[in-house]
Each structure stands twice: as C-alpha cells, then as structure tokens.
Symmetry: C2
Subunit: 331 residues, 2 copies
C-alpha cells in the first residue's frame, strides 16, 4: 500500500471533500462542465476577440438579466410578495379597517385564489397602498430594513443570501470582459435597486423594472420626490423590450431569463444581427432548490422552453449544470 499524499491525509482526518482543485483562472467555478457553460465561454470569447468576425465593441456588449428565478430564488413566492405581505400585516396593525380591502384581505388570508382574482385594479390598489405615498428614500430604507431581517421560510436564510452563486459568477465574468450588465425585472425597480449592488455588483442605474409614478414637489423649502400610489409601467413580457429600449437605448447581445415573462426579451435580444446569446435557467432541482416549469403559478416556463431548441436558446439545467446553487453553501 502506498502512503497517501499529505493533502489526502488531511482530507481524511478533517473530513474535507477533495474536489478537483479550482483553477485559479476558472471564471465560473460553481458551474459543472456542461453545454451551457461551454456555450457561455465560447460566446464571450467570440465577441471579445479582436479580429474575430463576431467581435463586438465593448460599448455594445449589453447583457440583460431577469432577476426573480434567474438571479435569485423566487419560490415559494416572489420575494417582493413576501415583503408586501409583511408590510400589509404591519399596516393593518396600525389601521384595522384596511383589512377589509380585497387586496389586503387576500394577503392576510394567504388566499392565493383571491389574490389571483384581484385583477389589475386590485393589484394596483395593493401595490399603491403598500409602496406609494412616501419618498424613494423612505421606501428604500423600509425595503432595506425588511431585507436585513426577513428570512426564507424553507432555507432559513436572508433572501439576499439566496442569490444563485453561478449567476453571480456569470455577471462578474461578463463585466470582466467589458460587458455592461443590467437587471430587467418585473419587480419594482426601487425594491430591486436596494440590493442589486451588494448582491450582484449592479448599480442602481443598471436596474430596469416596473415603476410607480413619481412626482416632484417642494415641501416647504425642501425639494422632494414622492412616490404616487399608481403603477406607471409593468416591466414584464412585452414590457421588457420596451423597458430595455427606454432605459438602455440599444439592443442587448445577451439575455437571461427563466420564465415566459422573459420570452419577448429573449426574442428581441436574439433577433438582432450578429452574435447573440439567449439563456434560460431551468429549475430542475427540487432537492437543492425547487423544480418547476410549465405548471407553476410563479415563474411559469412553457412556451420559451418549447421554442428554445429552434431559437438556439441555451437551457441551463440547474441540477446538472450547477455545482453549487447558493453562495457559501455546499449545495
């Protein structure tokens, strides 16, 4: 019997797993070797190699990422829905009459069917009441406070620790190759902006999202912006290409989504001339995260999954392709 090498011995003694050592220059250490990983690396190499027919100048290297379900966990409910639920509970404590409003009632009863039946007006009332009538600074402080204390019901960690480590690495990898990285989210832009920079290194000005109307006014001698109780833009589905054009002003070359709400963004991005990459995060890992697609009320992925092969969109299989899912976690 040959004596084990010292590192192996150490591993045995301390019970440390002996994974293949990460190469110092591995840009995507949390990804397993997979077609998706290869497609990403080949694409980045093609668009950044000067003289390559696929070379794209840095200014045009725009990458857009959906947030819920593409950059962080969206189950069992959207994080912002959990935020709204807690906010509703707090508001009803202050003013019990609110409990009779249909949106408030549905949230308090955790009545998903009633929520689904609210319709646009009911949803708007709920979002307006919970998100409007304050300054952006006040809203931001409230959202930050909530994110600092709220915990995911299953994983018992702050939501901001339930970002996807492989995606954080991808965002960073792209940025290191001259890409400008944007979030394009159906969520409220000012909610997502409170954590986008610490979580992904994406500054506030690179977050595009749903908005409520803002109004400028002088409060005494104090210039003030007030969030009005009214949704002004829904950045979902066909809203995503519109949000991209309004905010960024040029077509991305790379788009990442995980649901049919990202379908139009994927279409818009990959229909452009020259090299384009569309990526779909497919939630296939019930053990480490969640497994859902066609039938899910949250993050339904049906049409985009059907069309992916023909459109050349690369499907990321979370279970197969990701060596780990959450930051600082072995799973």
């Amino acid at each position: 019997m040959t004596a084990p090498r010292p590192t192996v011995l150490l591993a045995l003694v301390f019970g440390i797993g002996l994974a293949a050592p990460a190469q110092a220059d591995d840009p995507l250490p949390s990804w397993n070797d997979s077609p998706a990983r290869e497609a990403i690396i080949a694409f980045v190499e093609a668009v950044t190699t000067e003289g390559s027919p696929d070379f794209v100048p840095p200014g045009d290297r725009i990458a857009v990422f959906d947030n819920d379900g593409a950059l962080w966990c969206e189950r069992p409910v959207y994080v912002q829905a959990a935020f709204i639920a807690d906010r509703v509970a707090a508001m009803v404590e202050d003013d019990p009459t609110l409990a009779e409003r249909p949106g408030f009632k549905a949230v308090l009863d955790r009545d998903l069917k009633a929520l689904a039946d609210l319709g646009e007006a009911g949803i708007a009332d709920l979002v307006a009441a919970t998100h409007g009538g304050m300054t952006p600074e006040a809203f931001e402080a409230m959202a930050r406070d909530w994110l600092a204390t709220a915990r995911h019901p299953r994983f018992d960690r702050p939501y901001t620790e339930l970002t996807y480590q492989p995606m954080v690495e991808l965002v960073d990898f792209l940025r290191g190759h001259g890409f400008s990285t944007f979030i394009v989210t159906g969520g409220g832009v000012e909610f997502v902006r409170t954590f986008a920079e610490p979580a992904y290194g994406i500054p506030t000005q690179q977050v595009v999202g749903s908005t409520i109307a803002l109004r400028f006014e002088m409060q005494g001698d104090e210039p003030t912006i007030v969030r009005e109780p009214r949704i002004s833009f829904i950045d979902d589905g066909p809203g995503k290409p519109v949000g991209i054009q309004s905010h960024i002003g040029r077509r991305p070359i790379l788009a990442v989504g995980n649901s049919d709400g990202d379908y139009e963004m994927l279409r818009w991005t990959t229909a452009g001339a020259g090299p384009r990459l569309g990526l779909i995060v497919h939630h296939t890992d019930a053990d480490r995260e969640y497994a859902y697609d066609r039938e899910s009320p949250v993050g339904r992925l049906d049409r985009a999954l059907d069309e992916a092969p023909d459109r050349g969109w690369v499907v990321i299989d979370m279970k197969r392709d990701w060596e780990s899912i959450f930051p600082g976690s072995s799973r």
Copy 2:
C-alpha cells in the same frame, strides 16, 4: 536690445499667439483661470481624496448635465427644432395636405407666435407625427442622417461640432475621476442618444430625456418596437428630478444647467447631504456664441440666476471663463 528668444521670433514671424503653454496634465485646457474652474477642481479633489471628510465613493459620484445650452449650442433654436422643421418640410413634400395642420403650418411659416400658441396638444401632434410611427432604429437612422448634413445657420458647421469644448473636457475630467456622467435633457431621448457617445463619450444608457411611448409587437415573425405617436414623459423642470430618480435611482452630487428648466434639478442635486456642486452656464458671449438670459424664449435663465449666490451655485461666465468655445476653433 536683447535678441528675442527663438520661440518668440517664430511667433512673430508666423503670427502665432504666445499663450502660456498648456501643462501636459492640465485637465481643463480650454478654461481660463476663474472662480468656476477653481470651484470645479476643488470639488473633484475633495470628493476623490480618500480620508477627506468630503470623500464620495465612486459609485455615488453621479454627475448630470443638461444638454441644450449646457453641452452644445441651443441658438437660434434648439437643434431638435431645426430637425423637426426639416422633417416637416420633407413630410409636406410627400403629402401636401399636412401643411394645413396647425403645427405643420406654424413650422412651415416659421411663425414663432403660432408655435407658442399651439399649446400642449398641438406640440404633441407635431412631435408625434414627426417622431412617431416608426421603429427606434429607423428614427435613429433618420436623425443621424440629418445630423450628418444639417449645418448651423450662423456658424456654418454641423451641429455636432458646436459642442462646448470646455464642457467636453469637464465631462471627461469627471469620468477620469470615477464619476458616472449622465445627460438629463428636455430633448427627445432617442434624438440625443444618436450623438451623445461620439460628442461627449456618454453612452445611450446614460442619456435621460423626454420620451414618446413605445410598444412591442410581433410583425410577422419579427419582434419589433414601435414608437407610438404620443409623448409619454417630459424631462424638463420638475420632470428632471423625476427622470433622474426613475433612471439613475440615486441623487447626483453634481448638476450642470443653463436655464430655469434646470432649476429643480439643481435644487434636488444640491439639497442632498454631503458635498454638492451646482453649475450654471451663463451665455455672455455675443461675439463668439450668444448672449442671453432673463428675456430669452430659448434657454431662459432668470430665477436660477437670481438664486445662484444664495444657493452656492457657481455661475460660469462663458466670455470670461472659456478660453475657447467650440472644438478645434480658436474662438
């Protein structure tokens, strides 16, 4: 008599002015020594010196610039107004019945009073008809083509050569010190985006402006964005802080304007905590550019000028403070 030094001799022979040689590291060579120049340099030094009580981390170094009259010439009319006038003429050539619409008629007659009397609906009709009903790509191509050929009536140069060289240097100086530089313009965002990058090094996603509504649709199998014939946001006056908050998501630390349309942006920017700088470009040079302020129909500067001393806003006196005005020009 002492023999003149060779350089002085050369200067005499060739009639070259002997200005003090520009220092290689002079960041603002087109600026004369002046209180404005000193205030800018002191501000940038304060916010970029680590350990200084006024230090601002790079992510928060947001600078916003008005465009018309602050970064380029806005007289005798806004450049976009000249664009609209030429577009109206071309459209009427194709369809003479258009000449009867009040907005079209006022433009064709160069009837400033009729234009002023159009009211919001008339202006909207005009902008919608000339700017709407096409894709952003088609609009951009049209604007680029026009900018490539149109010439300023007095200076007989393309409008894109009538940027202010000292301001181009300022934008560059700030960017070199970790600032993110944004245009916040009352002009149409997609018009300004066509030249912001070549003219100022400001990419499309850092231009905030007035917008017309966009719609996503499938044209056959082609995902398409269409500009609707409807103004959706006016980024002027109280609209500027709103545009900033919507698009950038944080309060700037430096704002540059030249008219009362920038008043609220200056107020909003300089009311924030910590070091702030408000700059006003005052058009004082009828010889090299234009002289106008309180009575001007274009770029009226009245209230902001009155309040500048008390609010600590620094007024740039173009005639006194700028050694040259336009790029590649001795004047």
